[in-house]
């Protein structure tokens, strides 16, 4: 057994990738057991998830829809997830645990919605401005958290989780007072010109959703990877994240690096906010902290904090959240089943580092020099 574990998960080559895959596999098995317990066939349940995400054909489609329309809708939901998980990943690399992605998303979404989203600005101008507002609002919230950390040494976990609620209630107040749509009980939908997803576009006999920001999400992930690995700023952020004392010794300005980390993380979260509220959703539900900001933590961990890993992990989690709608209607189970599976994956993903340590301990405590290190 031990040998098998080491064979599968040991060694250094792509170890974290293999552990992530292992975590997913185990959680799918656990989730299968849950399906079996509630009397559903897990294979067909997973099939439904893929069908609902447009990755497997359904038996029948409504008019002007096919697998491709489902897939485009899936990408629409995937886009903000990628940004949100990047926000968490960058912060973690810099040694900050950003739980405030939800609040930052709301900030970006709210300010973009109530300004450009309510205006008559033409699309070529409105859409870029929405993105800029998203980035700015998120970055400012991030800067605040970073500043609190370095100025007053307030733990970012506390300040960011509190800001989630503070911001949510502030925006809820303004939405309920000024921007409420009396029928949907959501904020007034943003204008089509400013919306980052084109909804129900008719082409070649189909009604398509087109997530305009999806390419931007992929490019951003690639750029963040480059930024972290190849720039001096990324070098500093990683050094501070790994060891503040050593980074300080090396002459790196730690407080500046912390704020920089949170500004970048916030900007990414802001992008998630505008692509979610001004793209996928089109409006803001008052009184709710978006769960995506929390799922993003699991996604980032599952993606091993690697920007490209985040794309794949986002893909997986979005299959669950998006496919769950179809799954629940098909199998007659509650839609919360998706959250349940996500939670199981989250637990195993969070265990990734633990699994790695466990494996390397079996592998033999440490590399030779380890022999000299007193345990």
């Amino acid at each position: 057994m031990k040998k098998l574990i080491v064979r599968l998960l040991g060694g250094e080559k792509r170890q974290m990738l293999r552990i992530s895959v292992f975590a997913i596999a185990v959680s799918l098995i656990v989730a299968s057991l849950i399906f079996i317990v509630i009397g559903k066939n897990p294979i067909s349940a997973y099939g439904n998830l893929l069908q609902g995400s447009g990755l497997m054909p359904k038996r029948s489609y409504a008019g002007k829809q096919n697998m491709f329309t489902d897939f485009m809708s899936f990408l629409d939901a995937l886009t903000p997830m990628i940004f949100a998980s990047l926000a968490v990943a960058v912060a973690l690399k810099g040694g900050m645990f950003n739980i405030g992605v939800s609040g930052m998303m709301l900030a970006g979404g709210f300010f973009a919605s109530v300004s450009v989203g309510m205006s008559e600005l033409a699309a070529p101008l409105a859409k870029p401005i929405v993105i800029i507002i998203g980035i700015t609002a998120g970055a400012l919230v991030g800067a605040l958290i970073g500043w609190l950390k370095y100025r007053f040494n307030i733990n970012e976990v506390v300040s960011s989780i509190m800001l989630n609620y503070i911001l949510m209630y502030i925006f809820t107040f303004f939405i309920n007072s000024y921007y409420i749509d009396p029928i949907s009980r959501q904020s007034t939908p943003v204008s089509e010109m400013s919306r980052l997803s084109l909804k129900a576009v008719r082409t070649s006999g189909l009604k398509l959703d087109i997530p305009l920001a999806f390419p931007l999400a992929i490019l951003t992930a690639v750029y963040i990877r480059f930024f972290m690995e190849r720039t001096t700023a990324g070098f500093e952020i990683k050094a501070v994240g790994l060891s503040r004392r050593a980074a300080g010794y090396a002459g790196i300005n730690i407080s500046r690096s912390i704020i920089k980390t949170m500004v970048i993380s916030g900007a990414l979260a802001g992008l998630a906010g505008v692509t979610y509220f001004c793209g996928y959703m089109g409006s803001i539900q008052p009184g709710v902290v978006p769960g995506m900001g929390f799922n993003a933590i699991a996604v980032a961990l599952l993606g091993n904090n690697d920007p490209i890993g985040c794309i794949f992990a986002s893909f997986l989690i979005t299959i669950l959240s998006k496919g769950a709608i179809y799954l629940s209607s098909k199998q007659g189970v509650d839609i919360e089943i998706a959250d349940l599976i996500t939670a199981v994956i989250l637990i195993f993903a969070a265990c990734g580092e633990f699994i790695r340590r466990f494996v390397s301990r079996i592998e033999a405590e440490d590399i030779l020099e380890g022999g000299e290190q007193k345990a």
Partner: protein
């Protein structure tokens, strides 16, 4: 009992770690009642083989016999049952527990409170320990807190911990690394006393003169292999050193007389507070000239760390001034000081000197990554970083599993230190601060670093060497300062002081007495 002349026999022990053989077919036989020394460079496998004996690792091959009986030691707990005790280099004590509590931990004497409630019998523990400490001449106060003890008392507690568990085979892992000369002498006496009362002692050490002083026999390991087992009386230290490193080592450092130039570092009435707001450095003034090694001797914890950190900019100054080449750098940032030519090899290699999660390559550029050599418009030049890494690895003989790409946390302590020294010396600074540069290193690495220190001086750099090793101070210094309790209580030319003088000042003797 006479069927077992050897109390411990380890036969053909082999232990592999990923990528390296820590012990390669090592056989050791240790006699009852002797002091047996294990000598070897860093990474030679001394600690590994003792960790195997103490049940912390299981060997891949080989057999262990204790008192003639084959055993399979699976855990330290089992080793304890077999009468084996170990004092680790880093003590394993609970600092807010008392001495007695630490010693009985895991083997608490029980009593029944009110006749039925099981409870720890602290009175008995205190009595037992007082008796035990008296019978072995190890003076301790059973009810004192560990956090109030100095290092050598803590070590005594570790020894008592073994004795309390009736250990017969006592393993000491580099016991003198953190002690003053006087404390070392006392410890060696304790060890002799333990042997005379019938215990068997195994001592892991780098220090040849200590082996000479107390050991009966000595095993020499080199890169995982057993080189020889020697009778200490019949073997010269030079011979032992040769076996250990595989070449002749000269003990005294070759160095020409100093040719001091202009003053590079001037510290003026410096007072520095430590983390608790306590004045760890008080009103200290001294100068270091170009081409001079100024060695600051002192017992650990007398303000050396705070002083070095303050000069390098890691610690804020309460009052006083620091001048580098005439310029006041008291309020400069760490990076500005580094750019002015201040290089610093800190004491804590793993938490301060290196980013443990970074690769060797990135650590070798930790202070220069942003400069024009490695970065253009904020983008790192991978090729330049790789070349820099390769060059330093080769030049300073830094050994690692995967060269540039090795994560430094997987490297040995000695090679980690080499990496720091390589990086700092390569800055070609005007002032280089060496803080405990050879702590925990083996003879080969020590002489290598000593040579580099002298080279730096000869290049014209001012060298501030802060060391707890008196030999090191005496061998290298052109000028010696002695720090005690945060004050420098003596500065003199090295030629004007004897080892004994310095030792006395280190323990707080006043001017004039020495």
């Amino acid at each position: 009992m006479d069927n077992a002349e050897y109390i411990v026999e380890m036969k053909h022990i082999t232990k592999r770690f990923p990528g390296i053989i820590a012990n390669d077919d090592v056989s050791l036989s240790i006699r009852r009642g002797e002091i047996f020394a294990l000598l070897g460079e860093n990474g030679a496998g001394k600690s590994t083989i003792m960790s195997i004996l103490f049940g912390m690792y299981e060997p891949d091959a080989g057999e262990i016999f204790i008192r003639g009986k084959k055993v399979n030691i699976k855990s330290p707990r089992m080793a304890t049952k077999l009468g084996i005790g170990m004092v680790h280099q880093h003590f394993k004590l609970v600092s807010n527990y008392t001495i007695a509590e630490n010693i009985i931990l895991g083997q608490e004497p029980r009593k029944k409170l009110f006749g039925f409630l099981p409870a720890v019998d602290f009175d008995r523990a205190n009595r037992d320990i007082a008796r035990l400490s008296e019978s072995y001449g190890l003076k301790v106060e059973p009810e004192a807190l560990i956090s109030d003890l100095n290092v050598s008392s803590q070590q005594r507690v570790e020894i008592l911990k073994m004795l309390y568990r009736d250990a017969e085979i006592l393993i000491f892992d580099e016991p003198t690394a953190v002690l003053t000369p006087q404390e070392i002498e006392a410890l060696l006496n304790i060890i002799r006393g333990l042997r005379d009362s019938g215990k068997t002692i195994i001592i892991i050490t780098h220090k040849l003169n200590e082996i000479k002083a107390i050991a009966d026999r000595c095993a020499i390991l080199n890169r995982g292999r057993l080189m020889a087992v020697k009778d200490v009386k019949e073997t010269s230290t030079a011979e032992m050193a040769r076996l250990m490193v595989g070449r002749e080592v000269s003990f005294t450092v070759d160095k020409a007389g100093a040719e001091p130039g202009e003053t590079v570092l001037k510290v003026e009435k410096l007072t520095v507070c430590n983390e608790d707001g306590f004045e760890a450095v008080k009103d200290v003034s001294f100068e270091v000239k170009a081409g001079e090694i100024f060695a600051l001797a002192g017992v650990s914890g007398n303000g050396q760390n705070e002083l070095a950190d303050a000069i390098a900019g890691l610690e804020r100054v309460k009052s006083g001034h620091i001048f580098l080449c005439g310029e006041d750098i008291t309020d400069r940032t760490i990076r500005e000081r580094a750019e002015e030519g201040l290089a610093y090899i800190p004491e804590d290699r793993q938490n301060v000197g290196l980013v443990m999660g970074f690769t060797l390559r990135d650590n070798l550029a930790l202070k220069s990554y942003y400069g024009p050599d490695f970065a253009k418009k904020g983008v790192l030049d991978e090729e330049a970083l790789n070349d820099n890494g390769k060059r330093l690895i080769e030049k300073y003989d830094i050994r690692s599993g995967k060269g540039n790409e090795t994560v430094v946390s997987s490297m040995s302590g000695g090679n980690q230190q080499k990496a720091i020294v390589a990086r700092e010396i390569d800055m070609e600074g005007r002032l280089i601060i060496f803080m405990q540069p050879t702590r925990g290193l083996d003879v080969g690495a020590i002489s290598n670093i000593h040579k580099q220190i002298v080279n730096e001086r000869d290049r014209g750099a001012a060298v501030l060497l802060i060391s707890l090793e008196l030999d090191e101070v005496m061998n290298l210094a052109d000028t010696i300062g002695v720090i005690y309790n945060g004050r420098i209580n003596r500065i003199a030319k090295a030629s004007e002081l004897t080892v004994e003088d310095v030792g006395l000042f280190m323990l707080g003797a006043e001017k004039g007495e020495g």
